[in-house]
């Protein structure tokens, strides 16, 4: 099956040519078939967020190519890629404009990719559609279309951001620890909503998480990253039988092998 997302030999290092040079992504090969729900785990500085940022185009990669839905997006600007990519961040304040109303925020997301032009913003039909979409969240926000976004709680804002990211079905949805800043109950609720929305529209998704157990229970495939490399790629039965303990054990094993290699080089 053709892949929705294809990363071929993607490398990226920061502070190149200085003493602080750090390889954030090293020769990444990643293919996602349509409908795949990939979870990404790894320690701090493993390259998880760099991977998402490389795909969203926040910086150009040094080497390799990125294709999305058959289109080469390696040199496409961030805002152009956003047309087909939905994104959520850890900070629930990042995804919405606080001084604009819920309806205006949704409208901006809804117009993604279509020509913006000078026609007047919100029609009655849009409003009815947004109400219906908001009702899905089950947070009672459908009656608050005219409320300013800044008045909502972090969890509510993240839920609306989720709706904004998927209101026009994207080719790819990328979630960067999007429940980490919420309290456990709210985080659980947002994660549940995420799964429902993804399932409904069969959206290809990448989710970065620090929670290993939810990385294994949510989605269809899990990769583990370390020092800019994919060191483990689990799917199917192997993934079903994986436990948190076994995964940590595997991680330690791979890590020490890496350290041994380094030691040999140094000696």
């Amino acid at each position: 099956m053709a892949s929705i997302l294809r990363l071929e030999h993607v490398s990226k290092s920061f502070h190149r040519g200085t003493a602080n040079e750090r390889a954030a992504l090293q020769d990444i090969q990643l293919h996602l078939p349509p409908g795949e729900f990939l979870t990404v785990i790894g320690g701090n500085g493993a390259g998880k967020s760099t991977l998402l940022n490389a795909v969203s185009g926040i910086f150009p990669v040094d080497q390799g190519s990125i294709r999305l839905g058959g289109e080469d997006i390696t040199f496409l600007k961030e805002y152009r890629r956003s047309r087909h990519i939905g994104r959520l961040f850890q900070d629930p304040l990042k995804g919405t404009a606080p001084n604009m109303t819920i309806a205006e925020n949704l409208l901006l997301a809804y117009l993604r990719g279509t020509g913006r032009g000078f026609s007047l913003g919100l029609s009655k039909r849009d409003e009815a559609f947004f109400k219906e979409q908001l009702a899905q969240l089950g947070l009672g926000l459908e009656d608050r279309l005219k409320s300013k976004m800044g008045l909502l709680s972090g969890g509510q804002r993240q839920a609306v951001t989720l709706l904004m990211a998927t209101i026009v079905t994207p080719r790819l949805l990328m979630l960067d620890e999007h429940t980490a800043a919420l309290d456990p109950a709210t985080g659980e609720k947002v994660l549940q909503l995420t799964q429902e929305l993804i399932k409904k529209s069969r959206i290809t998704t990448i989710m970065v998480t620090h929670n290993i157990s939810s990385a294994l229970s949510v989605g269809t495939r899990t990769i583990m990253m370390d020092e800019g490399r994919i060191i483990l790629d689990l799917s199917g039965r192997e993934r079903e039988e994986m436990t948190v303990e076994k995964l940590l054990e595997l991680f330690r094993e791979k890590r020490s092998k890496q350290l041994d290699n380094d030691r040999m080089l140094l000696n």
Binding site: K94, A97, S119, L122
Partner: protein, 313 residues
């Protein structure tokens, strides 16, 4: 204040309201302190004066709009593509415009005395013409901010990252905003030049502060709830500012102190939230100290009570 002076203040208030609307677009909507207006205001005035001398006073207004927008586009280009800091980008354009404005004017002070202007045939109804032009511009601006493009300009100042993730080019929205802002400043200068029958190379100096002062006065009255109300606030703020200035002028105050007064108004208004916070903090700290001194005894009693309560249970 005489009635004539009052009427003059209202007329000037409406003319300068366009400038303040421009600052509303850059400072409030885009969240950029844009210094270009000091230059683009004069550019508008210069173009308008030159057009009037050429016998086409009405052409002066669209010319000023285009000239102002071009100045805004230059500043926007520096900010977005060349990554010059917003304030510096504005100062660079403003400085460059000084030379350009001198070239347009041909002299530092261009008198339009006894030359036909757009107000010539209106006589006493000139205030109506001013109000008409300003209200039409304000309405157009309000309408624009409810279009899809206008919405993305507003969102850019509110959360730039979110705008990019919604697949909107923020370089474009910033450019649109700065063009509109400086076009309004240019139009304001154009009206002023023909209204007072002269254009001067230095007439734009300090316009950023005057515009912000009007904006802040208006917001103090109407708040910042929605775009139409903010636009109304700017109009009213500008008129009030001019009335204050007329009152100052009719008193014994030295007119050269006007800029100092404007600067103090803006500095005080912009720092108001921070001062307010400090004031509350000091108040609470003083209160806490007082409680600590007078409340030592009562605290001890309370502690005893708790101890006794513990023994009972």
């Amino acid at each position: 204040m005489t009635f004539v002076a009052f009427q003059g203040a209202v007329e000037l208030g409406f003319i300068y309201a366009l400038l303040a609307l421009g600052s509303f677009v850059s400072y409030r909507v885009l969240n950029i302190a844009d210094m270009t207006v000091d230059g683009s205001f004069t550019t508008g005035a210069a173009l308008s004066a030159v057009c009037a001398i050429a016998g086409l006073p009405a052409l002066g207004l669209p010319a000023a709009i285009v000239g102002g927008a071009a100045a805004g586009a230059v500043t926007a280009l520096m900010q977005t593509k060349l990554k010059v800091q917003p304030i510096l980008a504005g100062i660079i354009t403003m400085t460059a415009l000084y030379s350009i404005n001198l070239k347009i004017l041909g002299t530092a002070n261009l008198s339009l005395f006894q030359i036909d202007n757009i107000f010539t045939h209106f006589g006493a109804a000139r205030v109506a013409l001013i109000v008409l032009i300003v209200l039409a511009s304000a309405a157009a601006l309000g309408l624009f901010f409810h279009t899809r493009t206008g919405l993305s300009v507003r969102a850019t100042g509110d959360n730039e990252e979110m705008v990019r993730t919604s697949s909107i080019n923020t370089d474009f929205t910033k450019t649109v905003g700065l063009c509109i802002s400086n076009a309004l400043a240019g139009l304001s200068g154009a009206l002023l030049a023909q209204y007072q029958s002269f254009a001067n190379i230095n007439m734009g100096t300090g316009m950023v502060i005057i515009a912000l002062a009007s904006l802040i006065i208006g917001e103090a009255i109407f708040g910042r709830r929605c775009v139409p109300l903010s636009i109304l606030a700017v109009l009213v703020g500008s008129i009030i500012y001019r009335i204050i200035m007329a009152l100052v002028l009719s008193s014994d105050t030295d007119p050269s102190d006007l800029k100092l007064i404007s600067a103090i108004i803006v500095a005080a208004a912009v720092s108001y939230p921070a001062l307010r916070e400090k004031w509350d903090y000091w108040g609470r700290r003083r209160g806490a100290k007082r409680d600590a001194q007078s409340g030592n005894n009562s605290n001890r009693e309370q502690g005893d009570q708790e101890k006794r309560g513990g023994e009972h249970s």
